[in-house]
């Protein structure tokens, strides 16, 4: 009875295409995320106002002070304006007041010649999340630069945050299209009695589910692929080889299959849209936030990292990042693919068994 599955597949797909508004809206959301979030977060910080002062008495400027001052003034990331706008103070108290008044983001106090063993003291505005770490590393690099300069080699080239994040958005698009577009369409069909119409036909129930998962998978895949292309255009990521390209398609497909099956198993438990939508929102939040799309998962507390282990999005994001950003092949993403396949198999089984129960 593959004919029945094909008929259901075609019908679902025809309905999907007949509503371009929904298609566009489900794609607009991830693109907005990519463009707005990707640019708002993780931008390179420059022109950070920084106060520099030497301890009393400062009849003479120490060599450390002069060279560091020069270093801080010229410190910049490649192709970017200087990181710091250095303001020289001659009174430590005044400098600290400037910090409190928000005129500067940090104060560097250099020791005077009499107290050579004293530390270089750094005061930072800790209410700001991002700049203290940057000031700290900037000052340290300048101090270290005195003796042994650190040579940084970025083995995958310069990767901007939007490129790092963009890969996650591909997975997000798959998830959103499935959970919201696909799941709601399925529940609507049930509300309209269309599913009941299937049941009095000789089509096997497994064929019905096969048709539904099939059409959902293709829809999700197309959404993921579209965002992948958008990602290339907007963030400038590059796919290095044809092999990589096909590997990406494979990952997108397995992810789509798993997420769609999960959706079918969840959606089959609901008879109306509202409660399903809230559950879908819950799932998309928890799975997306723990996927590592925003921030590396190693920064998470242990209890949260447990979620990433069973989170298919984590493996999908990791696999895509390995291929797209690092140009790695099957030998590295093999584990991710196996995890995704296991997830898909479990989700399909769950989808079929829970769906059947509601048919009886």
């Amino acid at each position: 009875m593959i004919k029945g599955a094909v008929a259901i597949f075609k019908r679902d797909f025809k309905k999907f295409l007949s509503n371009p508004f929904v298609i566009i809206m489900t794609l607009v959301m991830p693109i907005m995320y990519l463009v707005i979030f990707g640019n708002a977060v993780g931008g390179t910080l420059t022109h950070i106002p920084l106060a520099v002062v030497q301890e009393q008495p400062y009849n003479d400027f120490t060599p450390l002070y002069t060279s560091s001052l020069q270093g801080l003034r010229t410190l910049a990331q490649k192709d970017y304006p200087p990181t710091f706008d250095v303001l020289v103070y001659n009174d430590e108290e005044k400098a600290k007041r400037a910090l409190q008044d928000g005129i500067v983001k940090g104060v560097v106090v250099f020791p005077s010649p009499i107290s050579r063993d004293n530390a270089v003291r750094l005061y930072v505005d800790s209410s700001d999340y991002a700049t203290p770490a940057l000031i700290e590393s900037g000052v340290q690099s300048v101090l270290v630069g005195e003796t042994n300069p650190v040579q940084i080699n970025k083995i995958y080239g310069d990767i901007k945050y939007i490129q790092f994040f963009g890969v996650g958005v591909i997975v997000m698009a798959i998830f959103m299209t499935t959970m919201f577009g696909g799941g709601i369409a399925l529940i609507k069909d049930r509300e309209l009695g269309i599913i009941e119409g299937y049941l009095v036909t000789p089509v096997k129930r497994s064929s019905i589910i096969l048709g539904m998962i099939g059409s959902g998978t293709v829809r999700a895949f197309l959404a993921g692929f579209t965002i992948f292309i958008v990602d290339i255009l907007i963030t400038g990521i590059i796919v290095q080889s044809t092999e990589d390209f096909f590997l990406i398609l494979v990952v997108l497909f397995i992810t789509s299959l798993g997420v769609t099956s999960l959706m079918v198993s969840i959606a089959s438990r609901f008879i109306e849209q509202q409660s399903y939508s809230s559950v879908a929102a819950f799932f998309s939040l928890i799975l997306f936030m723990t996927s590592g799309a925003f921030y590396p998962t190693i920064g998470m507390p242990d209890w949260l990292r447990w979620i990433t282990i069973i989170n298919p999005e984590f493996y999908a994001v990791d696999a895509l990042r390995s291929i797209i950003l690092r140009g790695q092949g099957l030998n590295v993403i093999g584990m991710d693919i196996i995890a995704l396949l296991i997830f898909s198999a479990v989700a399909i089984t769950l989808g079929i068994s829970t769906y059947r129960r509601t048919l009886e």
Binding site: K3, G4, V6, A7, I8, K10, R11, K14, K15, S18, N19, D189, L192, G193, I194, E196, G197, Y198, L199, V200, T201, P202, V203, K204, R205, S206, R356, E360
Partner: protein, 348 residues
């Protein structure tokens, strides 16, 4: 649950007459919930003859739809058995589904698709050969007069058009049996007549039709055999004429008047053809075995007491009268033109 297909040496009950296309044997369905159990179908036994239009009548909630759902393999019975053609409903549900057409009470059309697409999709589900499918679709659209709307979305259709489309959709694969659950519920009189014509036409193509309804006129118009169902039980099953004979009171005579002389009542009742005579709301209600035969005698008595008549009506008992007689209650308040129950909603 996917019941396996077993092939028994003989799946027919030996006592059943072969011209019965449906044989229901002590069928019971109990819906269990935590707090209570409801017996929707209570030990029902009857047969349906091949090729007829069979009416399943009863008030809302009588168990008609549950019975249909069991026969169309959507529900499993709690006990008892039923055969559709030669297949047992719990053993060969897939075989049954390929020989039946079902038009459920609540529409299952996809209103976002066109009429053609709806028929094409369903045709594929019920395994109509691709080579003849297109021709068959146009034939059905012709039958319903929807040819010019073939590529219009169903959501723009009127209730009657949707209903007709859904009925022919159930018929796309020439099923042996067509189940129609409340086919004219919520339709205007004109659409109802069209749906009735449709049903009659389909029956002429040698399809057995099982029809549930709570409209008496519908059953009177269409059905050869009628089964009365109430509270899950089969009250009676017979032909329309026999059912009417079941009422001992015979024809009903109503005479309107302006002023009544009470003395004529005993005199009317004295006629041994007349079973009862009563006065209500300025009307004289008389039940008589042979209505038209006794009418002259009644008119003569009225003339004798100089009672001026404003109206006379004489009618044979309707199915509704039979139902009231058998169950002591009305089938539905206002059986004709009633749209109150039309938005039956999700009853399951």
């Amino acid at each position: 649950m996917e019941p396996q297909t077993f092939y028994h040496e003989d799946t027919r009950p030996h006592h059943a007459p072969t011209d019965s296309i449906i044989r229901i044997d002590h069928l019971t369905k109990v819906f269990q919930s935590k707090t209570k159990s409801v017996t929707a179908v209570d030990n029902i036994t009857f047969n349906v003859t091949r090729g007829e239009i069979f009416g399943l009548l009863g008030p809302n909630g009588a168990g008609k739809s549950t019975l249909i759902r069991i026969l169309t393999t959507l529900l499993r019975p709690t006990s008892g058995s039923a055969y559709v053609d030669q297949y047992e409903i719990t053993k060969d549900p897939e075989k049954i589904r390929s020989i039946i057409g079902v038009c459920p009470q609540n529409s299952t059309l996809d209103v976002e698709l066109t009429a053609y697409d709806n028929l094409e999709f369903y045709g594929k589900l019920v395994n109509v050969d691709d080579r003849i499918l297109d021709a068959r679709i146009w034939q059905l659209l012709e039958m319903t007069g929807l040819t010019d709307r073939a590529h219009v979305r169903v959501q723009t259709f009127s209730g009657g058009m949707k209903r007709k489309l859904e009925i022919v959709r159930a018929f796309i694969h020439h099923p042996l049996i067509l189940f129609l659950d409340e086919p004219t519920i919520g339709l205007d009189p004109e659409s109802r007549r069209e749906v009735w014509q449709q049903i009659t036409r389909l029956n002429e193509e040698e399809t057995t039709i099982i029809l549930t309804t709570h409209y008496m006129d519908e059953a009177e118009k269409l059905c050869r055999h009628i089964a009365f169902v109430d509270r899950g039980r089969l009250i009676t099953l017979d032909t329309l004429d026999n059912l009417k004979l079941a009422i001992p009171t015979g024809d009903l005579i109503e005479i309107g008047f302006e002023a009544m002389d009470e003395r004529l009542l005993p005199e009317i009742r004295a006629n041994d053809q007349i079973t009862s005579a009563d006065i209500r709301d300025s009307k004289l209600f008389i039940s008589a075995k042979n209505g038209s035969g006794v009418l002259p005698a009644i008119v003569a008595i009225l003339a004798k007491y100089s009672v001026p008549m404003t109206s006379i009506s004489i009618r044979p008992p309707s199915l509704e009268d039979v139902f009231i007689y058998l169950t002591g209650k009305k089938l539905d308040e206002g059986t004709s033109g009633d749209t109150k129950s039309s938005n039956g909603g999700n009853r399951q």
